[in-house]
């Protein structure tokens, strides 16, 4: 049995059911048995279909760290392009206990509990200003979180007595957002942002933090960013209090906001 190294320094056995409970800290992809390491990949090479393309695909999979690469399908999708579906085995394991994961620290509360917590903390609704800033025209995510209707049966923040919501919509300049937050005495700012491949939107997110700091408002608001490519870790790095990625429900954001204001009041 082959012994492999984790990305920590732990050791694991792989390739069989033997590597069970005692070493469950070390994980490999699961195909049809524990730690067989089987993964499925698909990709395109700018090479005309044929034996050369297939060999290039196998080598590509080897470069990914896959052993025993198999090309299951090679299809010409243009004169100079071949699409591959392939399988291979990973042998290097991840050691779970060595991993550090950033996630917002909050518990899930139901609507009544959120309303109660905000009432107990502030004695009034929390003022939440939301906007898709800069050149961003996408408001689907922001609307899903804020609007009464919500998302997938989970009511939006407008449905909570705990929140007074102002949704500024799309393509809002950071300056306008900050001015609105000041005018309304916002307790929280929710920014929706689609970060594109070219990362043009990151600068815009950073710019908002700088503006808030310059206006002396940064510490007075809970600053949250959400979007399909946002992670909590990225949000922290950019100077936000929390970040929410895909599949976030309004209840997640509501729970976080209520607990965060409460935590700040206690501190």
């Amino acid at each position: 049995m082959e012994t492999v190294m984790g990305n920590g320094n732990g050791q694991a056995t792989s390739g069989g059911r033997a590597a069970n409970a005692p070493h469950s800290d070390l994980v490999l992809p699961y195909g049809d048995q524990r730690n067989d390491g089987v993964v499925q990949v698909s990709f395109t090479l700018p090479v005309a279909a044929g034996p050369l393309a297939e060999e290039a695909a196998r080598q590509t999979m080897k470069l990914m760290g896959l052993e025993d690469p198999q090309v299951a399908e090679a299809t010409a999708i243009g004169e100079e392009f071949t699409f591959f579906v392939g399988y291979g085995k990973l042998t290097r394991a991840v050691e779970l206990s060595k991993l550090r994961v950033a996630a917002p620290m909050w518990e899930e509360l139901d609507q009544a509990a959120v309303n109660q917590l905000v009432q107990d903390t502030l004695g009034r609704p929390m003022v939440v200003v939301g906007a898709a800033t800069g050149s961003d025209a996408h408001t689907v995510g922001l609307d899903a979180i804020l609007n009464y209707k919500g998302f997938a049966g989970n009511r939006g923040l407008e449905a909570y007595s705990a929140f007074k919501v102002v949704n500024m919509g799309s393509q809002v300049p950071n300056e306008e957002l900050v001015a609105k937050a000041r005018e309304l005495g916002a307790d929280a700012i929710l920014v929706s942002q689609v970060v594109t491949e070219r990362n043009v939107h990151l600068a815009n997110l950073t710019n908002l933090v700088e503006l808030l700091e310059a206006e002396g408002l940064r510490d007075q608001v809970v600053l949250v960013v959400g979007g399909p490519r946002i992670t909590h870790a990225l949000a922290i790095e950019l100077g936000y209090d929390a970040g929410f990625g895909p599949s976030t429900r309004p209840q997640d954001v509501a729970s976080y906001l209520a607990q965060e204001v409460s935590r700040r009041m206690l501190n």
């Binding site: 698909s42 990709f43 395109t44 299809t75 999708i77 243009g78 004169e79 392009f81 699409f83 050149s135 961003d136 025209a137 408001t139 689907v140 609307d143 609007n147 209707k149 997938a152 919509g169 799309s170 393509q171 689609v194 594109t196 491949e197 070219r198 043009v200 399909p228 895909p246 599949s247």
Partner: protein
């Protein structure tokens, strides 16, 4: 054959109400023009290019007239007057304005009759050119016929026109019939059209005349190779609707996204600006033989799609009547809708079927554009592909005309090369596999699907009655559509709307009207 039992009296009533609603808007706004329309007229007169600072010359001319308080006469009269007085072409006059060498308001008036005649003359060349481009498309369609329906429509969005051309040709070779180039984020809010070839965009590629030309040439080449004419689409929306229409017309684009209310609701563009620009841009599209695509899919993506049926239909009725008023033929009115009902709802497929067939049946001669699921797609590309498969089936079964191919990676990124290939192949498979299926099936009379369609139609009538009673402006103000409230006096681009003066002339509109309504 699949057919819904619907009450023709309700349909007639919906048409009557929408005709009335849209006529009232048209009447109320007939005394208005906009800076975008005047820039378009300047382009018809041959004004093109940019200043050394990158300001488009049509903007220079129109801004100059606004500053001099003369815009209410229309750009054509002042350009024509200057051409006569200075013995220059409109382009030369525009360049002189840019250099600060002339003031159109200070040039001696050459006589109304002579100026009017000259105004018509300077715009006629572009009108003739558009007619020729239309004839060229008709000839190409004869030579390179497109035989299968629905047409498979895919999107390119690399930001770089050269790369779009590569991807567009590749998608066509993989089976796509229609290539749309998505615009750079936020272009709809620019009050000018960027100039020249562009290679940098955000989430899309800038719509410019040079980019249109390059893309059309690439697709012409591919069309010849495939023996099948590949259509090109862009976005005739936002603050420059009519200018983009002009550019699309002279560069022989084939379709334009061109909705009567989209800009108001989803981009917060001023209502009057949108309706006035919309009408003129549609006249240009009508004359150029372009198929417009309306954007009712947006109602389905912003609110819960299950309940949005009536607002989609009501908007389609109004878009249809606005379009007819601009001279578009039914065959040019690509009303839009989408497959967006939450798949966790029991019988969601039956509800989609009911809606798709209802739209198809209500507008039998319109090339209906059906858009794929997006809202309920997440990172699981395999499940997304399954969802698209159901969408493909409903589309073929109900005889939709323009099928926007759903992407399995919709929720993640702009399509990778293989995403487009897999999606087009799946749609082409369904087009083949279910080709005659709809012809051989019937619905159970008064069953789930019939009843669903009847209830949507009834609610549409109620909604149109409400809009008719309030008037469209007030209805939008109260948030009747997509829950979005807009004020008549609010929104972007309002400062660009002006009242036409006593001597106002738009010779392009005059010429198009004569051609379209003769």
């Amino acid at each position: 054959m699949l057919k819904l039992s619907i009450d023709p009296k309700i349909v007639d009533k919906c048409h009557e109400l929408s005709e009335d609603i849209t006529s009232r808007v048209a009447r109320e706004l007939s005394s208005l023009s906009t800076v975008a329309i005047e820039r378009t007229v300047a382009r018809f007169a041959g004004v093109d290019g940019v200043t050394p600072d990158g300001v488009p010359l049509p903007n220079v001319v129109v801004n100059h007239l606004v500053e001099k308080g003369k815009i209410h006469d229309g750009v054509a009269m002042h350009l024509a007057n200057a051409c006569l007085a200075l013995d220059k072409t409109p382009q030369q006059v525009a360049e002189m304005i840019a250099r600060g060498e002339t003031d159109l308001s200070a040039i001696e008036w050459q006589g109304t009759e002579a100026v009017t005649e000259k105004a018509r003359e300077i715009c006629q060349g572009s009108v003739d050119k558009i007619r020729a481009r239309r004839a060229e498309r008709e000839a190409l369609l004869e030579e390179l016929p497109v035989t299968e329906t629905p047409w498979l429509y895919v999107i390119c969005a690399t930001g770089n026109t050269y790369e779009d051309a590569v991807q567009g040709r590749l998608a066509a070779s993989q089976g796509a019939d229609v290539i749309a180039v998505i615009r750079s984020t936020g272009q709809s809010l620019l009050d000018f059209v960027p100039h020249g070839i562009t290679t940098e965009g955000f989430g899309g590629t800038y719509a410019t005349q040079a980019n249109f030309k390059l893309m059309r040439e690439a697709l012409d080449e591919e069309s010849r190779k495939l023996g099948r004419y590949v259509r090109l689409v862009n976005y005739c929306s936002g603050l420059c609707m009519p200018e983009i229409a002009y550019m699309g017309a002279v560069e022989r684009l084939d379709m334009m996204l061109n909705d009567a209310m989209y800009g108001i609701l989803f981009r917060d563009i001023n209502m009057e600006r949108t309706f006035v620009d919309q009408n003129f841009s549609r006249m240009i599209n009508a004359y150029a033989g372009i198929i417009i695509n309306t954007g009712e899919d947006n109602y389905l993506t912003t609110v819960d799609a299950f309940g949005a049926g009536p607002s989609v239909l009501a908007s389609q009725f109004m878009n249809y009547h606005f379009a007819k008023k601009a001279g578009l033929k039914d065959q040019q009115i690509g009303l839009g809708h989408a497959f967006e009902i939450d798949p966790s709802i029991e019988d969601s497929l039956s509800y989609e079927l009911a809606m798709a067939l209802l739209v198809r049946q209500l507008f039998p001669d319109c090339p209906i554009k059906y858009m794929p699921p997006t809202v309920h797609k997440k990172g699981d590309i395999f499940t997304s592909h399954v969802l698209d498969s159901n969408f493909n089936l409903v589309s073929v079964l109900t005889g939709q005309s323009i099928h926007l191919v759903g992407m399995l990676t919709e929720a993640i990124h702009t399509p990778l090369i293989q995403d487009r290939y897999l999606s087009v192949r799946a749609a082409a498979y369904m087009r083949r596999a279910a080709k005659g299926l709809g012809q051989n099936l019937e619905f159970k009379q008064d069953g789930l699907i019939d009843r669903r369609a009847a209830s949507i139609l009834n609610d549409t009538l109620k909604l149109l009655e409400e809009v008719s009673e309030k008037g469209l402006f007030a209805a939008i103000t109260e948030g009747v559509f997509a829950g979005v409230k807009r004020l008549r006096t609010g929104g972007k681009g309002r400062e660009g709307v002006f009242k036409k003066g006593e001597w106002y002339l738009n010779p392009v509109e005059e010429a198009l009207r004569a051609e379209l309504f003769s």
